[in-house]
């Protein structure tokens, strides 16, 4: 197993390096110059000022040299300096990480729990009214754009009935502590987490349902039934467990994208996370910050891919670590 992990890590580093180099050039291919953006915002765009900005941020150096400096920095875990925000990239990302993880992990838990639960019910009662109802419910949230669900949620729960706050991470200026603070953050979290969670729930529901129906037809299920096991035990212990493999694969891929995957939800609900940081960086052509977020996201994807491979074995002992 150790050699399997080691091999995967080495492969991961190569993939990461390729991602960095590719993104480095891709970002610079996009039209728009960060120095011109900043000079424009300053209400002055004379040549001296733009030249000064380019020199200040090292943008006047040849591209290969800029790439070398960047990769050298990454090797020492230095993600560079944000041109626009005048702060180290790692600091900016770390500031936003807790809020993003709170949102995306909650949404992930909601989507996975509800998805597997609904999928199981849909498979158990396949072809009945319950199955159709679950499918429609799941697909409605999958088909509607996230920003629309978010805005409708705000309209209903914030404006009309005034149960939940419409934006932010906590009540600004309330200076709450202890349990009151936890409750406050939770109230702010409900809408964004549900919006994001219900969207991803649909895929888990459909995947679990399809996978369970497939497993249900296999011989060992018939054997279990012949042995006289109860339906609940068959569903839970034999069908669900065997049907979970594709769901785990999906969850692994999904977990890897958790950090950068909530741009729209974070924007509509003013949630102070990394998705928004990335979006703003993109608009401002803040190259280092953008690359920093990409690198962080890529590392997360690689880590979660590795974890997924390890979890496979727990779910299905037949899979071996082929080194």
């Amino acid at each position: 197993m150790l050699s399997f992990v080691a091999q995967r890590v080495v492969k991961g580093v190569i993939v990461l390096l390729a991602i960095i180099v590719l993104n480095f050039f891709l970002i610079r291919l996009a039209p728009g110059d960060p120095a011109v953006v900043m000079a424009g915002e300053a209400g002055a765009s004379d040549q001296v000022f733009v030249k000064q900005l380019r020199e200040k941020f090292g943008l006047d150096k040849p591209l290969p040299e800029q790439l070398f400096i960047y990769v050298k920095g990454i090797a020492t875990l230095d993600l560079g300096f944000s041109f626009r925000q005048q702060a180290p990239v790692s600091k900016l990302i770390l500031e936003r990480l807790p809020a993003t993880l709170l949102l995306t992990l909650t949404a992930f838990a909601i989507s996975l729990a509800l998805g597997v639960l609904f999928g199981t019910f849909a498979a158990r009662f396949a072809g009945t009214f319950l199955d159709t109802a679950i499918t429609i419910f799941a697909l409605i949230f999958y088909a509607m754009p996230i920003f629309w669900v978010a805005l409708m949620g705000i309209l209903l729960f914030s404006v009309t009935v005034d149960w939940l706050p419409s934006f932010g991470y906590e009540t600004v200026g309330a200076n709450l502590t202890g349990l009151a603070h936890v409750v406050d953050v939770a109230r702010h979290l409900i809408m964004p987490a549900m919006t994001l969670g219900l969207f991803f729930m649909a895929t888990y529901t459909r995947m679990t349902r399809a996978s369970m129906l497939e497993v249900k037809r296999l011989d060992f299920v018939k054997t279990a039934r012949a042995k006289g096991l109860s339906d609940a035990v068959i569903q839970r212990r034999h069908v669900l467990r065997n049907a979970l493999l594709p769901v785990v694969t999906l969850a692994g891929v999904h977990a890897g994208t958790l950090i950068g995957g909530a741009v729209i939800t974070e924007t509509v609900f003013a949630w102070p996370g990394i998705g928004r940081l990335m979006y703003d960086a993109l608009l401002q052509r803040d190259y280092n910050l953008l690359l920093g977020v990409f690198v962080t996201c890529s590392v997360m994807v690689l880590i979660f891919n590795l974890i997924t491979d390890l979890v496979y074995r727990l779910v299905d002992p037949r899979i071996e670590f082929a080194a």
Binding site: A30, D33, G40, D46, V48, Q85, Q86, R276, D280, L283
Partner: protein, 516 residues
């Protein structure tokens, strides 16, 4: 006689009553929206709009400006100009301290001037005519100019020339100075906290030099990136102030009708944002003056004002907004006249060549405006192709002169020498940069008029020069002027005296109070 006495008594009573009604109350918190989140708050180093809106409370300039753009005292309590209009002497206010308790003196002014020349492109241009700056004593600063410079008294507003604490910046690496993240100024509010992505918190400066001010205890600048969510935040009572431009225009009428809501277009006189279409004068059909004039006739600017901008703003008559100095409406007029536009296009021999239109990626309002203009131009037979980009991509195209028609809006800073000439003189043609003369218009007569206008004395002479320049430009149509924009500020009516100067919410909340 008795009538006069009665009138006098009535007036006196009225004044007393209104004075009583307007007696400021102290205390309370203002929640305002800031959009987008500023990249930093060190105004001497970052000069974008949101930075000034927040930092205008922390830092101060030597002067402020009334809605009519007359200079008002701020850190300078008085000033005088020599007869040859080359020496400006400022007497600084005594007893002013920085937020860390150190006194503000002339040494800080001298240091700020030197620092801004390196970090603040607009200040550097504004100070280009300054020969030397001296401090004969701690509370006197003397600027000596190389030659008279008409708009000189107009360059001392907080965003154009913020004062920086010498004792915290002198001899340090400005870029990485820790006070960039916890700015120290002389202003009515002090920086307290910034939770990135959530809010910026400012608290009252208890040692502010104007006794009793500020009246408000705290300001929370809330960061809400989505325009619809900002409207909801106001609707649900979470914020009290929506500064100009915080919500989409189509939401303004709805929000204005909410209970206890006040709306004002005041506070933009100094900036006077003017929207126009860059027309690439260099190539293709637009190189012909008649085609450019046809564009002016083809566009229904009243429709844009009434429908797209919800009746806010004013149709522009030329390169100067009507709120800045030396504006004249004695210029050729271009009413909406599609027939005339068609005739001019025919005369110019336009044969349906493709013309690329670049809208401004600043949200819904601008997108709709782009669509309306496209429709207007197609109605008179022009072949328009819309190019979509984001802001940075659009800037690159404009700076590289890779466009035919492009939307923009720019501030005018109160004086044609500060914010108008830069878009029309040929010395401001420089590839790779935006917001200068990107249309490529070159007219030696205009170059001379703007050069003369900046240094001419007395005022009447400047007026004459700029009137002539405006006439020539409007005849030549180097760009197509659209609207003098108005960004309405929406507040709860309990927020009083929020806007008292021509710089508006960008000038700090020192006069504001809450009628609880």
């Amino acid at each position: 006689m008795s009538k006069r006495v009665l009138l006098g008594l009535l007036l006196a009573c009225g004044l007393t009553a209104s004075a009583l009604a307007q007696e400021p109350k102290t205390g309370g918190v203002i929640n305002a929206v800031i959009q987008p989140e500023p990249p930093g708050l060190m105004l001497a180093m970052i000069q974008n709009g949101p930075t000034q809106m927040v930092s205008g409370n922390i830092f101060e300039g030597l002067l402020r400006y009334s809605p009519k753009l007359e200079p008002l005292p701020e850190l300078a309590e008085s000033w005088s100009v020599s007869e040859d209009a080359k020496t400006y002497t400022f007497k600084l206010r005594k007893g002013v301290t920085w937020h860390d308790g150190k006194p503000f003196t002339a040494a800080d002014v001298l240091f700020s001037v030197e620092m801004l020349k390196q970090t603040h492109a607009r200040a550097r241009n504004n100070l280009a005519q300054v020969d030397k700056v001296e401090a004969p004593d701690d509370y006197t600063v003397v600027f000596t100019l190389k030659q008279p410079f008409g708009p000189f008294l107009g360059i001392f507003e907080v965003g154009s020339m913020p004062m920086v604490p010498k004792h915290l910046y002198d001899g340090t690496d400005w870029k990485t100075n820790p006070y960039n993240n916890a700015p120290v100024g002389t202003g009515p509010f002090m920086f307290k906290e910034w939770q990135k992505g959530s809010f910026i918190r400012l608290v009252k400066n208890p040692n502010y030099y104007e006794k009793g001010k500020p009246y408000i205890d705290e300001i929370y600048w809330q960061i809400i990136p989505d325009a619809a969510a900002r409207s909801v935040a106001y609707e649900t009572g979470k914020v009290d102030v929506l500064p100009g431009g915080s919500v989409e225009n189509f939401d303004v009428p709805r929000l204005s009708k909410l209970k206890d809501t006040c709306v004002t277009g005041a506070g933009w006189e100094f900036f006077s944002p003017l929207a126009w279409l860059w027309l690439n004068n260099r190539q293709g059909p637009l190189a012909d003056k008649r085609v450019r004039q046809a564009i002016m006739y083809a566009i229904d600017r009243d429709f844009a004002k009434d429908v797209i901008w919800n009746g806010l703003g004013k149709v522009a008559t030329g390169p100067s907004a009507s709120t800045i100095k030396y504006y004249t409406d004695d210029v050729p007029k271009y009413a909406y006249d599609p027939a005339k536009a068609k005739a001019l296009l025919k005369e110019a021999g336009y044969k349906g060549e493709k013309i690329r239109l670049l809208p401004l990626a600043y949200g819904e309002t601008w997108q709709r405006w782009g669509e309306a203009v496209k429709q207007n131009l197609m109605d008179v037979g022009m072949n328009i192709e819309t190019i979509s980009t984001d802001v940075a991509g659009g800037n690159q195209k404009i700076g590289d002169w890779d466009y035919d028609i492009a939307f923009t809006y720019l501030y005018q800073y109160g004086d044609p020498a500060l914010g108008v000439g830069r878009n029309y003189v040929s010395s401001a043609i420089a590839k790779g940069q935006v917001f200068n003369n990107v249309e490529g218009y070159s007219n030696p007569e205009i170059d001379k008029l703007f050069a003369d206008g900046a240094v001419a004395t007395p005022d009447s002479k400047r007026k004459e020069i700029y009137a002539k320049a405006q006439k020539i430009l409007v005849e030549d149509v180097p760009v197509a002027w659209m609207l003098e924009l108005q960004f309405p500020t929406i507040t709860r009516c309990k927020v009083k005296n929020l806007i008292t100067t021509g710089i508006g919410v960008n000038d700090g909340f020192k006069d504001a109070w809450l009628d609880k």
